[in-house]
Amino acid sequence: MKTLDKNTTASAPGRESRTADPLGPNSEIGRKLKQYYDDLVHDEVPDRFAELLGQLERAETAQDKD
């Protein structure tokens, strides 16, 4: 499975990754894309989602009692 792992090629400058990855660490676009995305992933998550899952769980428990 081909996954893009930050740790694999960063410490080996000049070495071609397995398939000359056009979005790898030597790619400006690849780096910006990952920075952009990582900022989003590390954003604070609003409470509404945990609350939603809690509600769904309670609704299900209530049904199971029938």
Binding site: M1, K2, T3, L4, D5, A10, P13, G14, P22, L23, P25, N26, S27, E28, I29, G30, K32, L33, K34, Q35, Y36, Y37, D39, L40, V41, H42, D43, E44, V45, P46, R48, F49, A50, L52, L53, L56, E57, E60, D64
Partner: protein, 182 residues
């Protein structure tokens, strides 16, 4: 059969990734949060159709993506609410990684058609393989590859980045992090 505690925990853990994908795809934080909400509800409702041991993240991304396109079809293509996006982003994101650089990138990403944007996100950011991305998007692997390639070229064009390293504002970190251009 009830949802297990493990499944619920896995859903919770997936939320940051789902949110990142939703924001990248819709380019609107409010819409993205609604998409994530819808996805969680749907995933819960059809939890029995998920095969334990298979890729939950891919399964969830597929649900979210389908919901995104289904909403787009229902509403017709809406004009992007760029004020809404900028306001939301300023509220949510602290200045890191050179805010201006990333804003340029975000607006370049926004200019891509959705199919190219989602392809380059799935492959270049979410960490899926071409095979997984093709399954998520319901198309051939070759189609994903060509979309990624076109997206990358277009982004380079918009941001005026050549194939070699660009000596932009982050030139110093570029030199530190990479070898000289091959």
């Amino acid at each position: 059969m009830a949802v297990t505690a493990g499944f619920k925990d896995d859903l919770l853990k997936a939320i940051p990734s789902l949110r990142a994908f939703a924001v990248s795809l819709s380019q609107n934080v409010d819409k993205a949060d609604d998409l994530v909400q819808e996805t969680l509800v749907k995933a819960w409702d059809k939890h029995e159709s998920f095969q334990p041991g298979t890729n939950l993240k891919a399964w969830l991304f597929t649900i979210l993506r389908n919901e995104f396109y289904s909403q787009m079809r229902k509403r017709g293509r809406e004009v992007q609410d760029t004020d809404g996006i900028m306001t939301a982003r300023l509220a949510v994101h602290p200045a890191q990684h050179g805010q201006l650089d990333l804003d340029d990138f975000r607006s370049a990403l926004e200019q891509l058609p959705e199919d190219q944007r989602e392809a380059i996100i799935l492959i270049g950011a979410s960490g899926f393989s071409y095979e997984e991305a093709a399954e998520i998007c319901g198309c051939a692997i070759g189609t994903i590859k060509s979309r990624v390639s076109r997206a990358r070229s277009r982004l380079q064009e918009i941001m005026q980045i050549s194939g070699e390293e660009d000596f932009g504002p982050d030139a110093i970190s570029t030199q530190v992090m990479t070898s000289p251009a091959d």
